[in-house]
Subunit: 261 residues, 4 copies
Amino acid sequence: MENPNNLYIVQSGDFVQLVSPSNKTYFLKLIEGGQLQTHRGVLSHDNIIGRQFGNSIKSHLGVEYILLRPVLSDLLLDTKRNTQIIYPKDIGYILIKLGIGNGHHVLEAGTGSGALTTAFAWAVGPSGKVTTYEIRAEMQNLARKNLARLGLEDRVNFVLQDIQSGFNEKYVDVCFLDIPNPYDYLSEVRSALMPGGPFGCILPTTNQVTRVLTALHNSGFSYVEVCEIMMRFYKPVWDRLRPTDRMVAHTGYLVFARSIG
Amino acid sequence: MENPNNLYIVQSGDFVQLVSPSNKTYFLKLIEGGQLQTHRGVLSHDNIIGRQFGNSIKSHLGVEYILLRPVLSDLLLDTKRNTQIIYPKDIGYILIKLGIGNGHHVLEAGTGSGALTTAFAWAVGPSGKVTTYEIRAEMQNLARKNLARLGLEDRVNFVLQDIQSGFNEKYVDVCFLDIPNPYDYLSEVRSALMPGGPFGCILPTTNQVTRVLTALHNSGFSYVEVCEIMMRFYKPVWDRLRPTDRMVAHTGYLVFARSIG
Amino acid sequence: MENPNNLYIVQSGDFVQLVSPSNKTYFLKLIEGGQLQTHRGVLSHDNIIGRQFGNSIKSHLGVEYILLRPVLSDLLLDTKRNTQIIYPKDIGYILIKLGIGNGHHVLEAGTGSGALTTAFAWAVGPSGKVTTYEIRAEMQNLARKNLARLGLEDRVNFVLQDIQSGFNEKYVDVCFLDIPNPYDYLSEVRSALMPGGPFGCILPTTNQVTRVLTALHNSGFSYVEVCEIMMRFYKPVWDRLRPTDRMVAHTGYLVFARSIG
Amino acid sequence: MENPNNLYIVQSGDFVQLVSPSNKTYFLKLIEGGQLQTHRGVLSHDNIIGRQFGNSIKSHLGVEYILLRPVLSDLLLDTKRNTQIIYPKDIGYILIKLGIGNGHHVLEAGTGSGALTTAFAWAVGPSGKVTTYEIRAEMQNLARKNLARLGLEDRVNFVLQDIQSGFNEKYVDVCFLDIPNPYDYLSEVRSALMPGGPFGCILPTTNQVTRVLTALHNSGFSYVEVCEIMMRFYKPVWDRLRPTDRMVAHTGYLVFARSIG
């Protein structure tokens, strides 16, 4: 039998989640001597290091916080951002549809606040790589901080460059464009992408979908798929089970294709 | 600059996809001397080994097939099965919501035809592990073949055992139950799961959701989320953009929770 | 050719709609000598009487309001209420599914604020009748005012009575229950309803649907249908066509059946 | 108390529904001496005349059929058609959004197989009128038969004419276009419609919606609304309540506006 003690003792450098009695959530990277200020008192990082996930941690006011290992969906929703959000429902399907897995090299533009970059870096594992282009330095800095916080920055190559002059990469495994006008860069995508490799983009309006469909056709892409994903939450009450009153109606149309020929 | 030649030369043992002129798709593992029989002639594996993804491969009748690297969504849809399917839209969200990533140990029951097992094995990478329980030997054999075909069987520990007697594992990172009565095994899940670890299940009826909500409450789980994901495809025609006429209305309700305290 | 002058000259007693330059909407019943106070000045009813729909009407401050004939959906959304709303998307299907038309006698409980009563009274025409039960006097008064405002009160028979003692009516054409526990009154419904007549109810939770399905089965109803209607609005912008960001996720499950045998 | 005997005794000329033991449905207009041929024997109309809704009627082979009064949704689904269907979910909302009620004059193009015409004729009551334009004589004949079958033909004015030369009507209460290019006839609509009157159309593609939005803007329409309605049915089984596996994903985008100024 495996020794469980090594498996979940929290260490300095770990990225952890703390949840208050009122379900307020904090994400933090543990540093020896560090402190977390909350509305219900201060938590010393040193009191957390050496504990196990699932344990209660007391603030100096005696309030108990639960120590959890963060999951990807929580991290994505917690991403500091000043751009349009990409939702876990879309990200999950993007990962599967593009087949992003261990060791892959993913090419992305633009970086934005790095939510999608985070998911890509998570999915490619320690032997993979994400190269992400952005033209706004302040966005790139924000994304870099978001990735560093999670310890994923080593998997990411941040490029501050307009993709009008093309990508520096060749033979990448997959390419995803999260920009308003992907239809203007499809030949650049084809040059960078492995032959037959999967391409994707997300677009808020039908007019943009129309334009990218035309451009994909003209640029030699095949196996085009357009879809949208709707997610509805339910109130988790056993004797009054029902959907929530309101929901997100639209995040974007997902378009996928493969670069052939 | 990296040497691109190593990146995409197809080799013996690779799992590849071939697409016919009429978009019929074949998945196969390349073996020296192997042959693929199609309605449009025979393709020799030896003619494929050494080629690049995106290339055309000719059958002995001269019909051209396109050589692609399979992506996860295609593999999942191609899984040989004699059970209820789990769709990529659901699997993608499950991976993200459970935070399954590199090196994790995932516990699953039941194995079924192995579609979800495949996604878990894909997501944990070569250093991760999936332990999956099943009580029907023939289902386990089918799943084993499905995983072996993709070269993912080394990451999976297949267990032929009823989970009524509990799981053999302790401190697993996440647990997912794809069985009709997850509400009967929540204490077994808690014993096997890392404290605070994420748990999930998928259920077709509202009655089952009602029962699992009660059981989660009584078994000390928290942070319960219930949701459903709807996916709508569009006809990818630029000047007549519209959803397809019909769609899948329901696959299942997803229920997630964390084992606390 | 018909004389158009009779068709749209607004008269005293008419129920009309006025729309401000900023799209604020007023509904009012015209009375000789009456006045409408708005944030942009006073409009005299006498200035409206004799005008045509589509005309501009000036307030005493010179602000122009557009005179419109109200449509049913606007009236329903404007219903003064202190209860759960029923949405036009649901009401429209209820009318069609129950086949409510000219001359019918519709039986309803409870009255609530009268939104559904309004739609039924509208649909049965001047030769039809709606009988509606309510146990809260203040709700009945509110509903009565809402109906009177639209000039539809003559078609409605308001009954202040608990339906536990049954309905006074026999052989009504259709029956609709908008109460939390319709499953408790199905034998009363059968006694009041024309043989084979259509019955409907709206319920927010799956638990209630489960209970009413059992009760319908035990009470001799057939042709049971359960459905839900989702409505998504789009931003009406030609070059950036897309759904709104958020939508109503759930109003209620609609259940229909017919009383047979 | 009212005399129930007058209320539901079926008479010659009535339009009725008969349901077989296997739920096969027949709609028919009763004629003295008439006969209905079914797979389970012949039913004499004279055996039906004089009976009550909800009664059982025996075929000459002794099989029992249930006699029902048809509701609008059943009639619409039974409409003989060779064109695209309009669904009850859409029709219900159209009636409410356009505010079609007793005594109104509704203008429609094209007639098609008359499903929407049927709903309009139903909603305007005996004192109302529907004028419907069509350019294909065979479609008009089909629609005329469909309406006549229901006894609603007296409320409908069928016009065999291209609307490129405009409508003959003025000051109609509402106008609905069920044609592929409503954007080409908006000035004709404005000429025919009561000032401020409501206009609607249904369009399958986003490209058409884009075009009609531009045209509405240029033609002086206001209060534009674009929406779509999705309907999901549930299996009506109390202990396994769940949506059906598949559903209609798309019927059309509904566009509404009012003719102002």
